[in-house]
């Protein structure tokens, strides 16, 4: 079962990353990167890296790419125009993907009932194992990451302030 899933998600990943590079519309670039990240996290789950896969979905697909979309919408580079034929085709695609998702949700609920009787310590790659080495061997890098995020915040605030002040200068001139 696993090899087929590997080839399926590998094909989706390659096609989506080609679309990231080749698509003309910046909105399609960002949205196909969402698809690429989603299939990458599916590959992580196949590799039994459950925690990292979930973090990838939450941080990348949830936060980073929405940020990208936000900037693309703000810049308004070129308006998205789709003909009615394309939209109806996408509607059927959306409905079928939604039904597929609902079916997989049913399967997940069924396996959840079975998983409650399983021994949790036998599952590899869980948060417990990751957290144990994160807070022992890799404690210093973890603390330094907070410093990095702080520096990033300072950088963005100073960039935004610089933009505001130069804008005022231009008005005065």
């Amino acid at each position: 079962m696993s090899p087929y899933f590997f080839y399926l998600f590998a094909a989706i990943l390659i096609l989506a990353s080609l679309a990231v590079v080749l698509a003309r519309n910046p909105l399609y670039n960002v949205l196909s990167l969402v698809v690429a990240i989603f299939s990458l996290s599916c590959l992580f789950v196949l590799l039994e890296a459950f925690f990292v896969g979930m973090i990838l979905l939450l941080v990348y697909a949830g936060a980073v790419l929405v940020f990208f979309l936000f900037v693309v919408m703000c810049l308004n580079l070129n308006a998205l125009k789709l003909s009615s034929v394309q939209q109806s085709r996408f509607k059927w695609l959306g409905i079928s993907v939604g039904l597929l998702f609902f079916a997989s949700f049913g399967l997940a609920a069924k396996s959840f009932i079975k998983a409650q009787t399983m021994d949790a310590s036998s599952i590899r790659g869980t948060i417990e194992n990751i957290g144990r080495i994160l807070f022992t061997d890799y404690l210093l890098p973890f603390e330094l990451t907070s410093l990095l995020l702080l520096i990033a915040i300072f950088g963005i605030v100073s960039l935004a302030q610089g933009a505001l002040s130069t804008g005022k200068d231009n008005e005065n001139l």
């Binding site: 696993s2 090899p3 590997f6 590998a10 990943l13 390659i14 990353s17 080609l18 990231v20 590079v21 910046p26 670039n29 960002v30 990167l33 690429a36 990240i37 990458l40 590959l43 992580f44 590799l47 039994e48 890296a49 925690f51 990292v52 973090i55 990838l56 941080v59 990348y60 936060a63 980073v64 940020f67 990208f68 900037v71 693309v72 703000c74 810049l75 580079l77 790659g125 194992n129 990751i130 080495i133 994160l134 061997d137 890799y138 890098p141 973890f142 990451t145 990095l148 995020l149 520096i151 990033a152 950088g155 963005i156 960039l159 935004a160 610089g162 933009a163 804008g167």
Partner: protein, 100 residues
């Protein structure tokens, strides 16, 4: 049977696609998106090595890479927005002056 080689080949393909994107696209936003592909490819090989060597450090490094990438994207997009405000374009070729 899926081996380490399959995952590394996939990672190499994704890395090459991302590298082509970084080198060929003039749109700064597209360069940033292709950088994300490069990071995703390296993440995939880290997790694959972690699985096939039975070492969790690889997954932890992916965790750090995701954190650093989030910071990088935030700064990069702030610069893109500033560039658009000043030049009204996000083509990298338009950045011709060292100082505004």
């Amino acid at each position: 049977m899926i081996t380490l080689g399959n995952y590394l080949a996939l990672s190499g393909v994704i890395f090459s696609i991302g590298l082509i994107g970084v080198m060929t696209s003039r749109n700064v936003l597209k360069v940033l998106l292709s950088l994300e592909l490069l990071l995703a490819a390296s993440n995939l090989s880290f997790v694959a090595f972690s699985k096939f060597n039975g070492d969790y450090a690889g997954q932890l490094i992916v965790f750090f890479v995701i954190l650093v990438a989030a910071a990088e994207v935030a700064i990069g997009l702030a610069i893109v927005v500033l560039m658009y405000r000043r030049l009204s374009t996000i083509q990298a070729d338009e950045l011709k002056e060292l100082k505004w």
